[in-house]
């Protein structure tokens, strides 16, 4: 055949290019092909290709298997992981486990699959990242918890943030200038996950001290005083959260300690000491001063005598190891926070202009975490590290300017050093290995080309696919200038806004530096579902994503299957019905390639009860009957009429039925509320259509044909359906196989089920072991469990049975009947202390009569 004609013929086909090339290559090698033969081959190829095609939203591949051990839908955080929430005006970090447990206790839960889900009726908000890369407060829709006993993964980022989650927990990454979710187990080192840089906060202006101390205080609301019940000085109860108060707390966090009766702060800086004195005077408190030189260095202590203040401050921790930021601070107004941070840095922080860092060190991780969050209020990003036993927070020099503007120091020495640092900074050198924007695609190139921006720069960033935020900002600014000069309207370009959005985003795309697996010792793992993009922020500032929503969607192609050890136990126990009965129904030739036909069969199989199709079933007191409201459209959808329903009811129940349009009134002979109520569940369970026991049917394309998966099993009835390939259709209910297909089939089913279960867990067990188990279980012609009621309970030897379980019962029974134990088995012989009949134990010796003593010696 002519090459050109062949090529054209193939080119015109509706198949992928790679397939076309392959087809052409193969056909062009064949010499003696007629045109008809070529057409036939092409037809065949195209058909095979079409068959393998999957329509959009069509379920492909195996059923998402879910074992009790490791469900495919578990995506959660462990109890200890803290998240940032807002309740009313208060922003606070809470342990996710504590929050969810509390909500579930308060509002109850609904069981969905393995999860306990609680839809929240109250307004609590989580910090969430949106598609616009801005951080907003979003309402938490529901709390979820479920059991987990597998591994967790721990992710550490370059800036020292950590998060622990189940491998299925989903994170978000930035890809092609969009925010997309990705599974935790798919994250790799070098990927960038978002960390909040900015926290929008409502401002709490004042607090009541009484909310933060125990009940041993008397509150005087008229004079705004709070005082200890048993003598002691009073302090104002409602206290304004201002700069001075913040500063005092900051100093306390750095240098203070409390005892039951006083607050002690030690420092040498006169300026700081004066501020403390002023604060104490303001509250009207006495203080004492002590010189303290028994420590590492000389210092000066101020003790403020107030048990109320002392107890209030213990909210911030009492010793350097336990210091932390009290919850209300996260929601406090900016001035207060500013004062707090400055106070803290005045105490513990230091600046080094030569090394270009501002850093602060503490023994308390919680405090460092809290300060990092507070710094985010001022758009200051910080890096956490750890030295031998201290936690360090470093503010990169690029944020030094911001720090200088927003917070600064009071202590002269630190202040001048910071100024030196800020003035030494060069705006042009903006490289920052942490604040990078990944996956910018060709947006910058496209934009740059419009204004003839130097190609070298554009190409460099397109190749690297990441760019520092400040760098991008600088380039963008130049592009803007160029655009104005050249009169190009870049505002109309979508790329411009994409990049603009990235520059202005509230998050920092932090690089992952370490991923490790750790084991989980808690019973539950937790998740919350948030409005919008379903992202929320942990206390460490890492934004994560939640995909529980998909779990709620109806009709997602998932069937629950018991796997692993629980399934193994089920098989060996020969349960009447597995906990998750499932059938895999294969279809006959003429049905298997046609989706519509497959779906028809699925509809025929899926059981439909009156309860599931009726609008409502209730007791009608007026007519003393049960009222069943039907919807004609829904009935028609499943190919039913009202008469069908009436007939089905009449078959099951002795009732008189009055029909009123689409409403049925079922009347019984002696109506009473109790009698009517008793019948409602029965009526709900009336089978209208389909096969009883089969709750759900999924149609899936697998290996080029349509296969039905069902939840629930009924082999006998399914075999009766036309179009079902009875030679391949299977169920995981072994007993059912025995009843329908016989004992040999059951034996094979046991072997297959056990092998599949083990294989899914990655275990390789020689099939002969499984065959042995299956043989023993089926040897008597029926499937017997291995255990008390089966194989072990039917052993011939009394002692063997007694050794297994129910010792006394077997011995009594044997004594009563006068049973004899032949001591043939291993167990019996071990019990009586004889050698067992195995190996050397089954050899019996006798004197060799043929051997004559000394006979050989003479020779």
């Amino acid at each position: 055949m002519d090459m050109e004609a062949l090529k054209q013929k193939i080119e015109g086909l509706d198949i992928p290019q790679s397939l076309k090339d392959e087809l052409f290559e193969k056909l062009s090698k064949e010499k003696d092909l007629t045109e008809e033969m070529v057409d036939e081959i092409i037809d065949e190829v195209v058909n095979a290709y079409r068959k393998a095609l999957v329509e959009p939203y069509e379920a492909v591949g195996i059923v998402a298997a879910q074992s009790i051990g490791e469900p495919g839908t578990q995506m959660s955080l462990p109890y200890e992981e803290k998240i940032i929430i807002k309740e009313g005006e208060f922003i606070k970090p809470v342990e996710i486990g504590k929050l969810v447990d509390e909500m579930i206790e308060r509002f109850g839960f609904e069981k969905i699959g393995n999860s306990e889900v609680c839809d929240l009726p109250i307004d609590i908000y989580a910090l969430s990242l949106d598609q616009d890369e801005k951080v907003h407060w979003k309402r938490i829709i529901s709390c979820i918890r479920h059991k987990h006993n597998g591994k967790l993964i721990k992710i550490k980022t370059k800036s020292g943030r950590e998060i622990t989650a189940t491998p299925y927990h989903s994170f978000v990454i930035r890809k092609d200038n969009k925010i997309i979710p990705v599974k935790g187990s798919e994250l790799k080192i070098g990927d960038r996950i978002p960390v909040v840089k900015h926290i929008p906060a409502n401002c709490v202006e004042a607090i009541n001290i009484s909310d933060y101390v125990s009940g041993n205080y008397v509150v005087d609301n008229i004079n705004n005083k709070i005082a200890p019940k048993i003598n002691g000085k009073s302090i104002p109860n409602n206290i304004k959260l201002d700069y001075d108060f913040g500063y005092f707390i900051g100093i306390y966090l750095a240098e203070g300690s409390v005892t039951k009766y006083f607050v002690s702060i030690s420092n040498v800086d006169e300026l700081i000491l004066n501020k403390i004195r002023a604060f104490a005077d303001k509250l009207g408190l006495n203080y004492g001063e002590y010189d303290n030189n028994n420590g590492f260095a000389e210092s000066h202590d101020i003790r403020i005598y107030s048990s109320t203040l002392a107890e209030f401050l213990s909210n911030f921790g009492t010793s350097s190891n336990t210091k932390k930021i009290a919850e209300f601070v996260f929601g406090a107004n900016k001035e207060f926070v500013r004062g707090l941070i400055r106070g803290y840095f005045d105490g513990d922080g230091n600046v080094n202009a030569d090394r270009k860092v501002i850093r602060v060190t503490s023994n308390s991780k919680e405090l460092i975490d809290g300060i990092a969050i507070l710094l985010a209020r001022f758009n200051i990003f910080s890096i956490k590290t750890k030295t031998k036993n201290q936690f360090v927070l470093i503010i990169p020099h690029r944020y030094a300017k911001k720090f200088h503007e927003e917070i600064n120091f009071s202590v002269e020495k630190k202040k001048s050093e910071l100024e030196r640092l800020v003035s030494s900074l060069n705006d042009d050198k903006t490289y920052d290995s942490i604040d990078m924007i990944p996956s910018i695609g060709d947006a910058l190139t496209k934009l740059g080309e419009k204004v003839d921006y130097p190609k070298v720069i554009l190409k460099k960033f397109e190749r690297k696919q990441k760019i520092g935020r400040a760098t991008l900002q600088r380039h963008l600014r130049r592009i803007e200038e160029l655009a104005v000069k050249k009169g190009v309207n870049i505002l109309a370009l979508k790329e411009y806004w994409l990049l603009k959005k990235a520059v202005e985003s509230d998050v920092i795309w932090d690089e992952i530096v370490k991923i490790e697996e750790i084991s989980c010792d808690k019973k539950y793992v937790y998740d919350i579902s948030v409005e919008g993009l379903e992202t929320f922020t942990t206390f460490d500032g890492v934004l994560t994503h939640n995909t529980m929503r998909t779990f709620h969607y109806a009709g997602v192609a998932e069937i629950n299957v018991t796997l692993g050890l629980p399934r193994m136990i089920e098989i060996v126990d020969a349960r009447k019905e597995p906990s998750t009965p499932i059938m895999t129904i294969y279809l006959k030739e003429e049905y298997k390639d046609n989706r519509e036909k497959a779906e028809e069969i699925a509809k025929e199989i899926e059981s439909l009860t009156l309860g599931s199709i009726a609008e409502s079933i209730s007791i009608d007191l007026w007519t003393q009957s049960i009222k069943v409201e039907l919807d004609e459209n829904r009935l028609a959808d499943r190919g039913l009429t009202i008469d069908d329903v009436i007939e089905a009811i009449k078959k099951k129940l002795k009732v008189k039925i009055d029909v009123d349009g689409t409403t049925l009134y079922l009347k019984i002979k002696t109506p009473s509320i109790k009698a009517l109520r008793k019948r409602i569940p029965k009526i709900k369970n009336i089978q209208l259509k389909g096969i009883p026991g089969i709750e759900r049917v999924l149609v899936k394309k697998e290996g080029g044909e349509y296969v039905l998966y069902t939840q629930g099993s009924n082999l006998r009835e399914v075999f009766k359906i036309d179009g079902v390939d009875t030679t391949r259709t299977i169920t995981n209910n072994i007993i059912e196989i025995q009843e329908v297909l016989g004992i040999e089939a059951a034996r094979n089913a046991i072997i297959n089920e056990m092998r599949n279960t083990l294989e899914q867990q990655g275990l390789e067990v020689d099939i002969r072991h499984l065959m042995l188990v299956a043989d023993i279980m089926t040897a008597d012609g029926e499937v017997k469990p291995i255990g008390r009621h089966g194989v072990a309970g039917e052993k011939g030897s009394v002692l063997a049975r007694a050794a297994f379980e129910e010792t006394v019962k077997h011995l009594y029974a044997a004594a009563e009947r006068g049973d004899v134990d032949k001591l043939k088995g291993v167990i019996e012989n071990v019990i009586v202390g004889k050698p067992i009949y195995l190996g050397t134990g089954c050899v019996e010796l006798t004197i060799d009569r043929e051997y004559e003593e000394g006979k050989n010696m003479e020779e």
């Binding site: 050397t840 089954c842 050899v843 006798t846 004197i847 010696m857």
Partner: protein, 57 residues
């Protein structure tokens, strides 16, 4: 008669017990323990013991 490894072990045990309790050895040997003497006897096929084999049905 070819002995199985189990039979050898069993005979070895029984014979060395006999020797240890004072039975005459069937061979001349310089071995110094009953077990070694018994093993030597088996190697030379001069043990006055034989296993009872189950009769084949």
């Amino acid at each position: 008669m070819k002995l199985t490894k189990f039979e050898i072990a069993r005979i070895l045990g029984a014979r060395s017990l006999q020797i240890s309790s004072g039975a005459y050895a069937t061979i001349e040997t310089k071995c110094d323990s009953s077990l070694k003497i018994a093993y030597e006897e088996i190697k030379q096929g001069k043990v006055p013991l034989k296993p009872i084999r189950p009769v084949k049905a």
